[in-house]
Amino acid sequence: MSEIETEEISTEQPDEPASEAPARSAALVMAIAEAIIFVSDEPITSKILGEIIGEDKQTVQAAIEELQKEYEERSGGLQIREIAGGWQLATRTEYHEEVRKFLKTRPSAKLSLAALETLSVIAYKQPVTVPEILEIRGVQSASAIKTLLEKRLIVTKGHKETVGRPMQYGTSKDFLIQFGLNDLSDLPSIEDFEDLSITALDQQQ
């Protein structure tokens, strides 16, 4: 990748600064490159970085190599890697165990839309059975219910005394905690938002 020697250019005046920007210090180019690599979803090439920063590719390449060296030397939790022809900020492999451990314990309050829908039906219609949820949502909710049970947001509430004695579900104490409710009467009703214009509610998508 670095067949082109860049030392000469970098120390002196990066005389032909690409677009309108005047000569930037190497430290500044490093800092901006670092910020952009950080926010990028994908590995980013020196070329693209150069276009954004307004410096030529070589200057940027040299700056990032310097940055990479800096990361090596301080041996913190992160590294700059060259991947698929671009640059990327990533955790150092040494700490993969702790990182993995953390990623597993992330907040459990996050729900898929299917789970959220199912939860809302259970919250407002409890106690409610699976067939009843199906009727309201128009979709099978089995896996959503499983998720909600696993996350302890819902609990079983005994069998309903009808044909087939289907299981009924309701929300749990954890549900109240997760959603910051004192008790179920704290659940907002449609009337609570009437002032805020209900029509707007379904516009929002």
């Binding site: 910020a35 950080f38 926010v39 990028s40 979803d41 994908e42 900020l89 990533a90 990182v99 990623l103 907040p107 309050a109 996050k110 729900l111 898929s112 839309l113 959220l116 829908e117 939860l119 809302s120 039906v121 919250a123 407002y124 309201i136 949502r137 128009g138 959603f179 910051g180 409710l181 704290d186 659940l187 907002p188 009703s189 449609i190 938002f193 002032d195 805020l196 214009s197 209900i198 029509t199 707007a200 509610l201 379904d202 929002q204």
Partner: protein, 262 residues
């Protein structure tokens, strides 16, 4: 709908309000965004360089009314809250014009400046207005800070975090969706051809002359329109009804044969 209340500002969000003192004594107001009647009032007081504890109520009331009239003339919906404030100002103004009851005046306790409540309200509001400014500045700074892009290791997307508001919103959407499905079912067993012909015949006989356009306007779905169209063809074919067009390219009428035909 109450939500219209704050829409008065939409046209001139970026404008800074300003009163341009012309050569005549007529005040010219440049419209800007006012967050409410108190905001406007505070602005007018500052324009007049008046002391907030001694508001020249007559003058301020006049400016306030000028502004509201201007809003009206520009067809901006003037919110009820603005009009309520106008009424309050007029009331205070008239109270201040009344000669003070000399009997009551001697009793200092009795007399309360009619402006006091308004001043208190303005002072309270002013604090929150400043706080809003602070929040604005903070958010501007925050918008200059970026967090890292998505990384491969986390299975993001597909997951959303939720509040109670989301719960209700989602529930309402489900209910709406449910209702739509139900109403669709009803539409499916919509009016049959036989019923359509019956209805059409009834109308022609009652009205003697029926504009086809009016008739078709009652139907919305494709299916209904098709049924209606077939019903028209059928009734013309089988009954004493004919199609009449009074002018070229004019509307077409269904007429019972033998009634005032031309």
């Amino acid at each position: 709908m109450q939500s219209t209340t704050e829409q008065y500002s939409f046209n001139f969000l970026t404008e800074i309000p300003e009163i341009v003192g012309g050569s005549s004594d007529e005040l010219k107001l440049k419209l800007g965004e006012f967050a409410g009647p108190l905001d406007l009032l505070l602005y007018l007081i500052k324009q007049e360089q008046a002391n907030i504890f001694d508001i020249p109520i007559a003058k301020i009331t006049n400016s306030y009314l000028v502004y509201i009239r201007l809003m009206k003339s520009l067809d901006i919906a003037v919110a009820a809250d603005f009009i309520v404030m106008a009424a309050t100002l007029i009331e205070i103004k008239s109270k201040m014009l009344l000669p003070r009851d000399p009997a009551a005046a001697s009793d200092a306790e009795e007399f309360e400046d009619p402006r006091k409540e308004l001043v208190d309200q303005l002072l309270e509001y002013e604090k929150f207005k400043s706080a809003a400014q602070m929040l604005y500045e903070r958010s501007t700074v925050e918008q200059a800070v970026f967090k890292r892009g998505a990384i491969e290791s986390d299975d993001n997307n597909a997951e959303i975090s939720a509040t109670v508001f989301d719960l209700l919103t989602v529930f309402q959407k489900i209910v709406l969706r449910h209702k739509e499905e139900v109403s669709l079912e009803i539409e499916r067993e919509e009016i049959s051809l036989a019923d359509m012909i019956k209805a059409l015949r009834k109308r022609i006989f009652a009205e003697l002359e029926l504009n086809l356009l009016t008739f078709f306007e009652d139907f919305h779905t494709r299916r209904e329109l098709v049924t209606a169209f077939i019903a028209v063809l059928e009734i013309v074919r089988t009954e004493e009804v004919k199609l009449v067009q009074k002018a070229t390219f004019g509307d077409i009428f269904l007429k019972k044969v033998g009634v005032g035909s031309n």
